[in-house]
Amino acid sequence: MTGSTEWPLWEVFVRSRRGLSHTHAGSLHAPDAEMALRNARDLYTRRNEGVSIWVVPSAEITASSPDEKDSFFEPSADKPYRHPTFYDIPEGVKHL
């Protein structure tokens, strides 16, 4: 086999049941989206693990870099006032 005929890689996301969001299940090779969906069904939902599947070409996904993890997520680290536990409420005040 030459590299030129290797099918592209797809990422598979499965909704396990209604009310839950799709979760990354894994990846697979397929020539096109339709075949990717069928392969995903056979590969990741052989035991009723899903009610809905998304497939996305792996190359189309843009991801944050693990190298800049600290600087990228830092802005939220110094804002504790975004959390309810930041606030002092007198004891006995209810439903708050």
């Binding site: 086999m1 894994g26 052989r46 190359a59 693990p66 190298d67």
Partner: protein, 337 residues
């Protein structure tokens, strides 16, 4: 694959931030990696990792993937001759699961930068190995039961600790695999039990299968700790959590009472409970057989690889046709856009 199109799930070989001025400061990266592993955090595809860690994982995951798909052959041998529709449906589902396991694992290897075509090529040319257990023949229907009980049983014992492996995609693939393996083992056990409780000839057939599969199953855990070359480093990296001998002992202790319930014996005169150790003693393993099968002299080595190559070659036109169809469709789409 070009770096620009590298999928988000794939590990870059050189992290961008570390390559400032062309000087790669690996000591900083390495200590971050060591700290993450020590803290029992998972390493994910795009994290920096030592080259040797990556290479070890690719080798191990590839060998594991190859074992799953080669392992389809000995059992598929009995699909057309399964004694009932129930058994046939079960066996087909099991063999299909093994194909699935292979695919989960190949995907995990690809997150480390390996290419699927290259891995298959290495299997077909003998440059990468698969578990030597699959070089033994399935002579009778009872072998299907013995494989499910013992071979899948040994695989489970090996794979359960791998669910906590330090490399995220491998660990996640193992969680999926382990969930499916338990059916494999139970169907094998049930099959053997039916034979063991059947006619005299059926009972003898079950016993014969267990006699033949017992020792090769013990070899599945790999050479003794004293001779195992990769073990120590893999333990430090938390790829491996228990030594070969530890897992082998665990398996023996699990199997002894299971064999009793089956009404079958294990072919080892030295097998007995050791009160002091709280474990079973068992006889010496013939490692010369293991090495010989691994080197290619098992009963079915040639058959397995020949069949695998043939399946791959005969499927080439399907892969090419599907790729051509996909190309045509996307051209059409572009033309009408």
């Amino acid at each position: 694959m070009a770096t620009a199109h590298q999928p988000f799930t794939t590990a870059p070989h050189k992290p961008a931030a570390a390559a400032v001025d062309g000087a790669v400061d690996t000591t900083v990266l390495e200590s971050a990696f060591d700290a993450a592993v020590a803290a029992d955090e998972r390493i994910e595809p795009r994290d920096w990792m030592p080259d040797a860690y990556r290479a070890t994982l690719v080798r191990q995951i590839a060998q594991h993937a190859h074992s799953e798909i080669i392992g389809m052959q000995p059992e598929a041998n009995w699909i057309t001759r399964a004694p009932s529709l129930r058994r046939k449906a079960i066996l087909m589902a099991k063999v299909q699961d093994e194909a699935g396991h292979g695919l989960y694992l190949y995907s995990a290897a690809e997150t480390l930068g390996a290419s699927r075509d290259d891995l298959l090529d290495k299997l077909h040319s003998g440059r990468q190995k698969y578990s030597s257990i699959f070089n033994y023949p399935t002579l009778t229907w009872a072998d299907v039961g013995a494989i499910g009980w013992l071979v899948d049983g040994a695989a489970i014992t090996n794979q359960v600790p791998l669910c906590r492996c330090s490399y995220g995609p491998y660990a996640r693939a193992m969680v999926r695999v382990c969930k499916e393996e338990s059916f494999h083992q139970r169907q094998g056990y049930e099959l053997l039990l039916a034979l063991s409780r059947g006619t005299e000839a059926q009972h003898a057939m079950a016993q014969d299968a267990v006699d033949r599969w017992w020792w090769p199953s013990l070899m599945m855990f790999g050479p003794p700790d004293a001779e195992s070359s990769h073990s120590e480093q893999s333990m430090t990296w938390k790829i491996k959590r228990h030594s070969n001998d530890e897992l082998r002992q665990r398996f023996v202790d699990i199997c002894v009472p299971q064999a009793e319930s089956l009404g079958l014996t294990l072919p080892d005169p030295d097998l007995k409970w050791n009160e002091e150790r709280g474990q079973h003693d068992f006889g010496p393993i013939d490692w010369s057989e293991f090495w010989s099968v691994l080197k290619g002299n098992g009963p079915c080595n040639d058959q397995r690889i020949t069949q695998r190559r043939r399946a791959h070659e005969e499927g080439a036109w399907v892969r090419e046709a599907a790729a051509a169809y996909a190309a045509k469709q996307s051209e059409r789409k572009e033309a009408t856009a």
